[in-house]
């Protein structure tokens, strides 16, 4: 089924929040997922795998608080945001890991001329397009033990840009299960008062 990019971004944002990320990081997750899909990559699928791995872990277990590693496993949204905030991606070679859903790092470092690689897959940018080289199936990895960010352009084929998303049912169902956690269960009082009805709405 074809989705609009706004729908996917909203679903990804809510799912990330439901999995325990702060609202500000959940917004980053929504943007990153949309960006990946618009650039021809399986952003929603990788996000659902990463959130499943990271579900319920506290910030200090998944954040790069002490070098580019975490007490448990690096969250790609938290780590990507830190890479962007610290301007770290443009400043020479980095090794990170282990990282859940490493593909989600790409949107955060895309402004820099760098190559992102793990397990035989290499990603970079040329103009507006993502360049994919090496073993393409690797983009779907749920986790990578070691991720490299190197200065310099990537070699490979350019992926065409997309303006719609094709999501498989399992990805939607996993993301939706996380998103559901952000919704308050209805009570009789909220049904009546929360939306503000009371007067006749039909005259």
């Amino acid at each position: 089924m074809s989705w609009s990019l706004n729908e996917v971004e909203a679903l990804a944002r809510k799912a990330a929040r439901g999995a325990g990320l702060s609202w500000g990081l959940a917004e980053e997750a929504g943007r990153a997922t949309r960006w990946l899909i618009a650039h021809g990559l399986p952003g929603a699928e990788v996000l659902s795998a990463a959130l499943t791995r990271l579900d319920g872990l506290p910030h200090d277990a998944v954040a790069p608080l002490d070098g580019w590693q975490a007490r448990d496993v690096l969250c790609p949204i938290t780590t990507g945001a830190a890479l962007a905030d610290l301007g770290a991606a443009g400043g020479g070679d980095l090794r990170l890991g282990p990282v859940a859903g490493p593909l989600l790092l790409l949107p955060f470092i895309a402004p820099h001329v760098v190559t992102l690689s793990w397990d035989g897959v290499r990603l970079g940018m040329r103009d507006e397009a993502v360049i994919l080289g090496g073993a393409p199936d690797g983009v779907r990895a749920a986790i990578a033990q070691s991720v490299r960010i190197e200065t310099g352009p990537a070699e490979g084929r350019a992926l065409p840009l997309q303006d719609r998303a094709e999501l498989d049912a399992e990805t939607v169902s996993r993301l939706d299960a996380f998103a559901q956690r952000t919704y308050a269960p209805a009570t009789e009082a909220s049904r009546i008062a929360g939306a503000g009805a009371g007067l006749a709405d039909n005259d």
Binding site: S4, G24, A84, D85, G87, A186, T187, S190
Partner: protein, 564 residues
């Protein structure tokens, strides 16, 4: 009417955000020249858009479909309307409804038979259906029980309905949701934003509603004809008095908070427009006469504005008194010489309440299309472009931004229960925004980030423990819970009108203030709150229909004409 370069006093600047961005003032806004449906009609007129009703296939029970198309210079847009025979007990304006009197898609192009069949399988279901990227907007409407049967009956009996009774309601159908920008699988706004006709905000939705109004008037006349061979059509002048109603609840309220750059651009353009008119040093006698006449018409408009809600009755009384005061002032005021509009504005700020002041803003823009209309293109926004946080900023600078933009919030005692009495949340049942009582309902854990003031105060408390020289990046790494408000604060520092400077979760907050501000920018009239969080309005009352636009003024219809 004026040459702005030769005749302006440069020392008049737009009003400061601390004055404008208060909920009570935003809740007193009125439609104006830069409201979105007026931008649409001006463009349709200037570009001679051509209208044609390609299909009207509705049976005697009122069931069927129609296709109403608008031809713009480069694109054709078609309203595909489905009319239904809805049992009265199923008719509800609330978003929890599952059936409607009519459902609509605005389609990109001319739909084929197969595409119409596909729409017929999905559009009547609304949220339970799916659409594709050739659909730009999905919406639905219900009949006014008070007016529909009455008007059909009058026309079928061969006579015109009573104008007074029409004014009591103002519309034959009201929309209960107009979805755009990717909802239900429709095209993203980004997919059409490069078309000039859709560059300003909400043009897709405004076009859909304009065509819905046209369809509804055609439908009521059709139903009268189906009832009786003696039926007459509506008198064209009376026909124009009908707007299209809209019933809006909390679903729309968080929008302005969630789109800070867009809000900045809407308000900023309106404030710049006011400043430009105030800078006119000498007005033409024609502009002065236009203004005088418009004030009288605006006063008449208040008498046509019906509401039963105590809060609105109070506002209407204030507006009536303000406009009476303004009319008395105009008896002697010189509106031509010596910075006439700035003098008038300064008088209004002293003499009038918020309702009257904001009405004067709208009225002052009317004679000055040449000064203000060109700014319509500046009202759109690219929120994505403002998304990235500048994490190289120092903690000292961020703290200064907080004091500047959120000083009002830093002064609130957020530990006092009334300060956080409410929480915005999304209901599991309908996935719609709601406002709950934080201390009485289990909603706090589900709170949406719609309380910038409280969040700024929390951030300020955290920053107090950091060195002023530290970088924001370091704070973000340790405190992911502040990422949202840090982004907002940086946006607000670059966009002065981005942030509402009031508590949006306090015991006193009135969501209808947010609704009115947004709806006034749409071009809505006759705000009629049904509670503190739900409002009915009318769109396009008095406006020309698409087939009348060639011979009509696209602007001079929002205030009723004075009796001869």
């Amino acid at each position: 009417m004026t040459d702005p370069a030769a005749q302006t006093a440069p020392d008049i600047v737009p009003r400061p955000p601390a004055q404008v961005m208060r909920l009570a003032r935003l809740g007193a806004f009125h439609q104006h020249r830069l409201s979105f449906l007026r931008i649409l009609l001006r463009r349709a007129k200037a570009e001679s858009w051509r209208y044609d009703r390609r299909v009207f296939d509705v049976d005697a029970r009122g069931v069927g479909h129609a296709v109403l198309s608008m031809h713009t210079p480069k694109h054709v847009y078609s309203l595909v309307a489905f009319a239904h025979d809805l049992p009265p007990e199923m008719r509800s304006d609330r978003v929890i409804a599952t059936a409607w009197d009519a459902t609509f898609a605005l389609f990109d192009g001319l739909p084929t038979e197969a595409e119409i069949a596909d729409l017929r399988a999905n559009i009547p279901l609304q949220e339970a259906g799916r659409v594709g990227p050739k659909v730009l907007s999905v919406s639905r409407a219900n009949r006014s029980v008070r007016l529909w049967d009455y008007v059909v009956g009058c026309l079928a009996a061969g006579h015109q309905p009573d104008a007074e009774r029409i004014e009591e309601v103002g519309y034959l159908m009201r929309t209960t949701a107009v979805y755009g920008s990717g909802k239900l699988g429709a095209a993203d706004r980004e997919a059409t934003a490069d078309r000039p006709e859709f560059q300003p905000p909400f043009q897709i939705e405004m076009l859909a509603v304009w065509l819905i109004r046209t369809f509804v008037m055609d439908l009521v006349e059709h139903m009268a004809r189906a009832t009786s061979p003696q039926a007459v059509p509506l008198d064209p002048a009376l026909r124009r008095r009908f707007g299209i109603g809209n019933s809006t609840g909390l679903g729309m309220a968080p929008y302005l908070i969630n789109h800070p750059v867009l809000l900045n651009n809407w308000i900023g353009v309106r404030e710049e427009a006011l400043a430009r008119v105030r800078r006119v040093q000498t007005a033409t006698p024609e502009a002065a006469a236009t203004f005088r006449s418009l004030v009288a018409r605006a006063r008449l408009n208040v008498d046509l504005w019906r509401s039963a809600h105590p809060l609105q009755l109070e506002k209407l009384a204030e507006l009536r008194a303000d406009l009476d005061r303004l009319l008395a002032h105009l008896d002697t005021a010189d509106l031509v010489h010596d910075d006439p509009w700035d003098r008038l504005w300064r008088w209004a700020e002293e003499a009038l309440g918020l309702e009257g002041q904001e009405a004067v803003v709208s009225l002052l823009l009317e004679p000055y299309g040449d000064l203000v209309d060109g700014m319509d293109c500046c009202m759109a926004a690219d929120e994505a472009a403002a998304f990235r946080i500048d994490a190289t900023m120092s903690v000292g600078r961020l703290a200064a931004i907080l004091r500047d933009t959120y000083g009002w919030a830093l002064a609130i005692d957020w530990d006092a229960p009334p300060a956080q009495a409410r929480a915005w949340y999304t209901s599991a049942e309908k996935l719609e925004p709601r406002l709950g009582e934080r201390w009485a309902e289990p909603v706090g854990d589900y709170e949406q980030p719609l309380s910038p003031g409280r969040d700024a105060a929390r951030l300020a408390a955290t920053l107090a423990d950091w060195s002023e020289a530290a970088k924001v990046a370091e704070v973000l790494l340790r405190h992911p819970e502040h990422r949202h408000i840090i982004r907002r604060a940086q946006i607000a520092a670059r966009h002065p009108y981005a942030e509402i400077r009031d508590n949006t979760i306090g015991a006193e907050v009135l969501p209808i203030d947010l609704l009115r501000a947004k709806l006034a920018f749409f071009g809505a009239q006759h705000f009629d709150p049904r509670s503190d969080r739900w409002v009915r309005i009318s769109l396009y009352p008095g406006a020309p229909f698409p087939d009348e636009l060639a011979s009509a003024d696209p602007d001079d219809w929002t205030y009723p004409t004075l009796p001869a």
